[in-house]
């Protein structure tokens, strides 16, 4: 399907890698004192777990190699410097100006805007790049969902 001069590669690691990373981050969560205390509100805990899930997914999917994962990690590192350490990469010059010159169809642009809001890091991408990232993101998300489903199923009381 990909043309010869630019093969689109959206390989995603196996489920194990995702599981590993997720459990890893969960373990880090465990060690936090604020987490294990019962007087913690559920919503906070949920948020933390959710964040842990996303961060682990980003790491499992390729760390800083992918645009969306990189931006995700960056956001997480900004918010909470304790849990996530994000080493800054050497920034490469991106064709940001390209996006300005994107005078595509209005229909396409509207949908692309929505996508950009959904996919992390979509703000600075051209539409074609955005779609690549979306594809990879969808794959990783589905993998993460599977892992979490397994965990929940396994740990839920019968």
């Amino acid at each position: 399907m990909a043309s010869a001069y630019n093969p689109i590669y959206t390989d995603v690691p196996e489920k194990d890698v995702f599981a590993l990373h997720f459990l890893q981050t969960l373990s880090n969560l465990r060690t936090q004192n604020s987490f294990s205390s019962p007087d913690n509100k559920t919503s906070d805990r949920v948020k933390k777990i959710k964040k842990a899930a996303y961060v682990s997914m980003a790491r499992a999917a390729g760390g800083t190699n992918r645009l969306w994962s990189r931006s995700l990690l960056h956001q997480a590192a900004k918010r909470n410097n304790k849990n996530v350490r994000f080493l800054r990469r050497k920034r490469r010059v991106t064709w940001l100006m390209r996006r300005r010159s994107n005078r595509g169809d209005p229909i396409e642009d509207v949908a692309a805007e929505r996508l950009r809001n959904l996919v992390p890091g979509g703000g600075g991408m051209e539409t074609s790049k955005l779609m690549e990232e979306t594809a990879h993101y969808i794959k990783c998300l589905s993998m993460q969902v599977k892992v979490m489903q397994c965990l929940v199923d396994g740990l839920s009381p019968k």
Binding site: M1, L20, Q24, S27, T42, A111, T134, K139
Partner: protein, 445 residues
């Protein structure tokens, strides 16, 4: 004109000319000619011809022809040249007459002397054929009717300077003179692009800026799958067309398609659109239920919905996770911490992880004999990666991943643990964790 022939020529020309006049000509004088021929099998005196001409005069052009004839008659031309011209002109006479007719139609206000020049083209020394601007076009349009004969006439009868005059008058005349006349097939083709690509017209006619037909700088030529049937000539010209305004910043080669605009912007647009289309196809496979939906907008909506649903699922599952268990999760996590450490590629870490795993297993053995059987099963899994650690190769370290899969998928087998057991394990897990947490952190990144 008929009279002119009769006057100037001998006996035999008329039959020839009559034969030539079988060609499809719509002008009335032409149709009248066979009649005239039958009538004038013998040479009637010129006055009769003149009268006949005048009698048949219906349209304006007749009068114009009359004037032309009179001028011809009056001028002292050698019969030979006229004869040859006449014979020669007979072939092309239809055409010239048509051209003349067109000329009359074109410039109705023109003086009678202006329209005869097309007619008198065949006799060079007479005519001061200054470039009639309309003539070139008309000649071009109508030379297809009798292209062969016209060409023959132009090549043989018309002297060089006359031809040169034709050339100077308009670029289209070059087309008229060439026997190929490819261009006249092309009016069917969309004129915007194809008209430029006529073989004869490449050098002269250019609607765009003059193209440097020289070196191919990185222009836009696409892969073969994108094109309809195109000729090589056109491709080269298109390359020249597109490369002139386009700075060679992008080395993707694009070839413009048949019947489409070839300026750089539209080409880039098309490349972009095709890229997006490719990726849309890719996304289609990922998103379930996208086959029924067609069109970019709907597809994108579907994709957005799918992404949103996945994100919501993650949130829901995380809620569930947080509510369902803390301790159980701790156990699993702790048991697997050593495994986690094995994933990174640094080999020295692997050794530490191996030590970690062993210490964990030792503790489990020491603390609780009840858990021994259960934990040992998990430790069996741990020991296999430990064995792999001995070799300290990355490939071997990944062999434990299948076991991890088994672990995660068959987590239910550990539900037999009671709460106290788990807490004890948690206790020993916690004891180990703070030591290695920093290492874990580094390894993660």
């Amino acid at each position: 004109m008929d009279n002119e022939l009769i006057m100037n020529t001998e006996l035999h020309p008329p039959p020839e000319i009559a034969a030539h006049f079988e060609q499809p000509s719509c002008s009335s004088p032409m149709l009248n000619w066979p009649l005239m021929n039958s009538n004038l099998s013998q040479y009637s005196p010129p006055q009769d011809c003149f009268t006949w001409e005048k009698s048949t005069e219906q349209q304006q052009k007749q009068s114009i022809f009359d004037s032309a004839l009179s001028s011809l008659v009056s001028s002292p031309t050698p019969s030979n040249s006229n004869f040859s011209g006449g014979v020669g002109g007979g072939d092309g006479f239809v055409i010239r007459e048509l051209i003349g007719k067109l000329g009359n139609v074109g410039n109705s206000s023109a003086t009678p002397m202006s329209s005869p020049p097309p007619m008198m083209n065949r006799t060079t020394p007479l005519t001061e054929f200054s470039g009639d601007p309309g003539f070139a076009e008309r000649a071009a349009r109508f030379s297809c009717f009798g292209s062969q004969s016209f060409n023959g006439r132009t090549n043989s009868s018309l002297p060089v300077n006359n031809n040169g005059k034709i050339v100077n008058s308009g670029k289209l005349t070059r087309v008229a003179s060439t026997p190929a006349l490819n261009g006249f097939v092309s009016p069917m083709v969309p004129a915007g692009k194809f008209s430029r690509k006529r073989k004869s017209m490449t050098k002269g006619k250019s609607k765009e800026n003059p193209l440097p037909t020289a070196s191919p700088a990185p222009s836009f030529t696409k892969t073969a799958e994108e094109k309809g049937g195109k000729r090589r000539r056109r491709e080269d010209e298109k390359e020249d067309n597109t490369k002139a305004p386009e700075p060679p910043k992008d080395y993707i080669h694009v070839r413009a398609r048949r019947g489409q605009a070839t300026d750089s912007h539209s080409l880039a647009e098309r490349v972009r659109r095709e890229k997006i289309g490719e990726r849309m196809k890719l996304l289609e496979d990922l998103v379930p239920g996208c086959n029924k939906v067609t069109g970019k907008a709907l597809m994108l909506d579907e994709i957005i919905n799918y992404v949103q649903s996945l994100q919501r699922q993650v949130e829901f599952l995380s809620m569930k996770l947080s509510s369902v268990n803390d301790t159980r999760l701790d156990f699993n996590v702790d048991a697997l911490v050593s495994k986690d450490v094995m994933i990174p590629s640094s080999s020295n870490r692997l050794h530490e992880a191996g030590l970690q795993a062993e210490s964990l297993s030792h503790h489990s053995y020491n603390n609780n004999s009840q858990l021994h059987t259960n934990v040992s099963s998990s430790n069996m899994m741990l020991q296999s990666p430990v064995n792999s650690l001995e070799t300290s190769t990355l490939a071997s370290s990944f062999t434990h991943l299948p076991t991890l899969t088994q672990f995660t998928d068959s987590i239910s087998q550990y539900q037999m643990f009671s709460q106290e057991d788990l807490q004890s394990i948690v206790g020993m897990g916690v004891a180990h964790n703070p030591n290695h947490e920093s290492q874990n952190m580094k390894i993660e990144l």
